[in-house]
């Protein structure tokens, strides 16, 4: 039995790693280039991308911080806003449910279209480009992160275990008490479900909003600028950084989730 468990771990970790190593080797030995019909300039070797990142990391740091501020700022604001929309939906149940059926539709609105309009909205906010542009980008990401949180929060607040509302009513507890003792704790796992969607999308939102921003800064903007300038290795380095940011934030989320929901998992 024990050896079976060990073999299981070996294949679960070993096979994907092996696959990754094969792809890496194909890339490094330029087989991948032949396959895609491209060259080393457009698709640089992994070692070259790696050395660009390690050589220029200090100069890349302000770009990364800028994107991180936008992504996290939008994530936090969007999640809070979304949760409050979910609460409003749960309070006014009949109106809320129909309203929240419209919310997923907002995901269908192209973000690209939003970004330039929001730039116009914030134009008079401040004379400083950096401030108004950052605000515009954060608003874009906020809108991006609101929808999934509001739908999930609504579900978490309303989909309580059967009869638990009756149980609370039998204690003669007020609506407010029921909200804090029953609905709020019940919605916690749903909040993490929403974050699993919005953490990756806040990075995407930040990157894309930078394409249209007034201020020329950020990982996403660097991807675009460097491609326009024909500096593909640098562009790839920023793509790698964007991917690493997404993966890192997701992993942090999973760790936090496993700690917070430790005792909720059914055995």
């Amino acid at each position: 039995m024990k050896s079976k468990a060990i073999r299981n771990v070996l294949t679960t970790v070993g096979l994907p790693v092996l696959f990754g190593v094969i792809i890496f080797t194909l890339w490094q030995t330029k087989v991948l280039h032949a396959l895609f019909g491209t060259d080393e300039i457009i698709l640089p070797l992994p070692t070259r991308i790696g050395s660009i990142i390690s050589d220029n990391f200090t100069s890349m740091l302000p770009q990364i911080t800028s994107t991180l501020i936008v992504a996290l700022g939008g994530l936090v604001l969007g999640s809070i806003l979304g949760y409050f929309i979910g609460v409003a939906g749960a309070v006014f149940k009949k109106w809320g449910m129909a309203g929240l059926t419209i919310v997923p539709a907002s995901n269908a609105i192209p973000l690209v279209a939003l970004a330039p309009v929001i730039n116009n909205w914030t134009r008079n906010l401040s004379g400083v480009v950096d401030i108004r542009s950052t605000v515009a980008k954060i608003i874009t990401v906020t809108i991006f992160c609101t929808a999934s949180m509001s739908v999930n929060a609504y579900r978490g607040l309303t989909e309580v275990k059967p009869f638990s509302e009756d149980l609370f009513a039998s204690y003669g507890s007020s609506k407010l008490r029921m909200f804090f003792k029953l609905r709020l704790p019940n919605s916690l796992p749903y909040v993490f479900t929403a974050l699993r969607v919005s953490v990756p999308s806040c990075v995407i939102g930040a990157v894309v909003s930078e394409y249209f921003a007034e201020q020329v800064i950020g990982v996403g903007r660097q991807i675009r600028e460097n491609i326009v300038k024909g500096q593909f290795p640098t562009a790839w380095a920023y793509i790698a950084i964007a991917c690493a940011m997404g993966i890192l934030m997701y992993v942090i989320l999973l760790i936090v989730e496993s700690i917070v929901l430790k005792n909720r998992r059914a055995r």
Binding site: T11, T12, L15, P16, L18, F19, G20, F36, T38, I42, L43, K94, W95, M97, A98, G99, T101, I102, P104, A105, N107, A108, I109, P110, L111, V112, A113, P116, V117, N120, W121, R123, N124, V199, P200, V203, I204, V207, V208, Y211, V219, G220, I223, R224, I227, F232, A235, W236, I239, A242, C243, G246, I247, M249, Y250
Partner: protein
Amino acid sequence: MLNKIKSSKGIVTAVWVLGLMVIWEICAFIVGATQRTPINVLPHLYQIFGSFFDPKPITGSGDTIATLVFSSAAETLSRALIGFVIGMLLGYALALFMNLSHIVEKIAFPYLMIIQMIPILGMAPIVLSITGDISSARIVIAAILTFYPVSTNTLAGFKSVGRERHELMKSYGANKFQLYIKMLIPSAMSYFFTGLKISAPMAITASILVDTLQGGNGLGCMLSQSLKGSMTRFVFWDIVIFSAVIGVLSFYLMGVIERAISPSKRKAKKLNNGKD
């Protein structure tokens, strides 16, 4: 009774849409009173709709806004559709292989998770320079974005088939092919469509984004040209509204197709309506 709830739900939705329109109009009114160029910030809805049906040509070739939007939409959406179909087929195939083979599942699963975490849209410019052609870039990005939700949802559908259902098929001595055709694939159908509902609007958004990166005839190209001021700003607003509507419609279209191919859903619904 149920009928009543249903129709009242329709009314509630309608009230919501109307409410949002009223909020838009109030904001537009404030913007109109305070801003120098309200059309750049928030024009009135009637202005936007009016401009769409304005018969006056806005380009040298005699296009009105409506014909311009439709022709660029055909350009962009046809590529989005091709990418969507390719991504759907690949995603479904991967889910099938992952369910058939433990080795494939173990290799692919972590990478499927990673795809979800990386900002694919951020890679649009590089995809564009690898393919070198905007149409192929649209197709590739739409396909990648469709691939992930279809694959994970369909796989979840296969996995959701309970032990007793497998035992039932085993007790009949069913082979692999029969197991898939008669049990697993139909069981996973609603999961598959959940994936499609997520990815259809995403494929459209992605194609429009790719458009904005380079000149051409797509929706996104018109959008950026209008922003740059080379044609009236109403083109921009019309495209925003148009793409939102198309995105929402693509979501509902998936539901319509699902109901069309699964008579049990349709019939159960009809019976419920008749009963109450």
